[in-house]
């Protein structure tokens, strides 16, 4: 079933969002709402959570990319999301390299792989 194209959303720091926008995923929809959010030092948790929930409810977003350190801040909202679409992917940022133990998806399968698979 090839439906109408879905978008990739990004929630991240300025560098991450800039990079991905240059990759060509940014779009403003009919109501001039963007599919990305730049998280700065003064962005409140509520704002991040709200935007995340909005992205989840929009049916034209297929994937949500979120920096791992931001995902940590709104971990409860991430864990509450059980549906398979939109897929939520945690990506590393410049200051925080990728940490597999914090990834919410991999935690669900915690018992199923050993430490050497991660090497």
């Amino acid at each position: 079933m090839a439906g109408r194209g879905k978008l990739i959303a990004v929630i991240g720091d300025e560098d991450t969002v800039t990079g991905f926008l240059l990759g060509g995923i940014g779009e403003l929809n009919k109501n001039r709402h963007p599919n990305f959010l730049v998280v700065e030092k003064d962005t409140t948790l509520n704002e991040i959570e709200d935007t995340f929930r909005q992205f989840l409810n929009r049916d034209d977003i297929g994937i949500i990319l979120i920096n791992q350190y931001i995902a940590e801040m709104v971990r409860h909202a991430l864990d509450a999301h059980q549906r398979s679409i939109p897929a939520v992917l945690e990506i590393p940022s410049k200051e925080h390299p990728y940490d597999a133990t914090k990834d919410s998806i991999l935690r669900r399968a915690k018992g199923m792989f050993t430490a050497e698979d991660l090497r």
Binding site: M1, A2, G3, G5, K6, L7, I8, E14, D15, T16, V17, T18, G19, F20, L21, L22, G23, G24, I25, G26, E27, L28, P34, N35, F36, V38, G62, I63, L65, Q82, R83, S84, I85, A87, V88, L89, I91, P92, S93, K94, P97, Y98, A100, D103, I105, L106, R108, A109, M112, F113, D117, L118
Partner: protein, 247 residues
């Protein structure tokens, strides 16, 4: 164990046949579901392995992309605000296709390009080459991430499907089949007991009849001895019948 009662049914031979058929059906169903669960679990493990590999790879690709971003920033200055302001249409979008594994539909993402690059003129002043490299790196990262997202959605969907299937297998194995077996045992014992009762009843009746017969025989002999009995006429003896005359 409470809660494992048998099915309420009148014990008869037909009920027994029905229960046997049901038991067979439940066992076949359980085996099929077990096979489905095994197939799903196998696929699940494969996907998990692939996810771990891809995530490690993604970590590296992102690091390289971030590095090239720093390079580009160094050469071209701060273009972040311009980039963010100039967003209008996405060039890279994804489609959701359906894949089928052992009866479970898994969503798979496929990315496609649409339209032209809206940032073609961004690096024109300075740092054009770094910017081009940066765009390529991030495009590569996006492709990898789309693949990762497909794996992840399959992972989540399979997880749910496996849980449901295992729940059903356990329900059949620990509730349905013991219940049917108990019903079957009950029917068999009831039938056996009925047979025994029938047998016992027949025997008792035979005994009673025998006693009655003996009693009446004795009676008859006593009366014969006393001469009170007139033998009834024997139809088979040769005797002349009087003619019947109709007046």
């Amino acid at each position: 164990m409470s809660g494992k009662d048998r099915i309420e049914i009148f014990p008869s031979r037909m009920a027994q046949t029905i229960m046997k058929a049901r038991l067979k059906g439940a066992q076949t169903g359980r085996n099929l579901l077990k096979k489905k669960s095994d197939a799903l679990t196998l696929r699940f493990r494969q996907i998990l392995k692939k996810i771990i590999e891809t995530k490690m790879l993604m970590g590296e690709v992102m690091r390289e992309a971030a590095f090239s971003l720093a390079e580009a920033k160094f050469t071209a200055g701060d273009f972040s605000t311009t980039v963010i302001q100039n967003v209008n249409k996405a060039q890279v979008k994804i489609r959701a296709k359906k894949d089928n594994v052992a009866g479970v539909t898994l969503p798979v993402f496929e990315h496609y390009h649409e339209g032209t690059d809206s940032y073609e003129l961004t690096g024109l002043a300075r740092g054009g080459e770094q910017l081009a490299k940066l765009k390529r790196n991030y495009a590569k990262a996006v492709e990898l991430l789309v693949e990762l997202a497909s794996l992840q959605t399959s992972f989540v969907t399979l997880d749910e499907a496996i849980k449901i299937t295992n729940r059903r297998v356990n329900a059949i194995e620990h509730v349905i089949i013991p219940r049917i077996e108990r019903t079957l045992a009950y029917i068999i014992t009831e039938l056996d007991e009925r047979e025994r009762e029938e047998f016992y009843r027949l025997k008792k009746i035979q005994e009673k009849k025998k006693i009655l017969k003996e009693k009446s025989e004795k009676d008859l002999q006593q009366r014969r001895a006393a001469g009170e009995v007139i033998e009834p006429a024997n139809l088979l003896a040769e005797e002349k019948d009087e003619d019947l005359l109709f007046e």
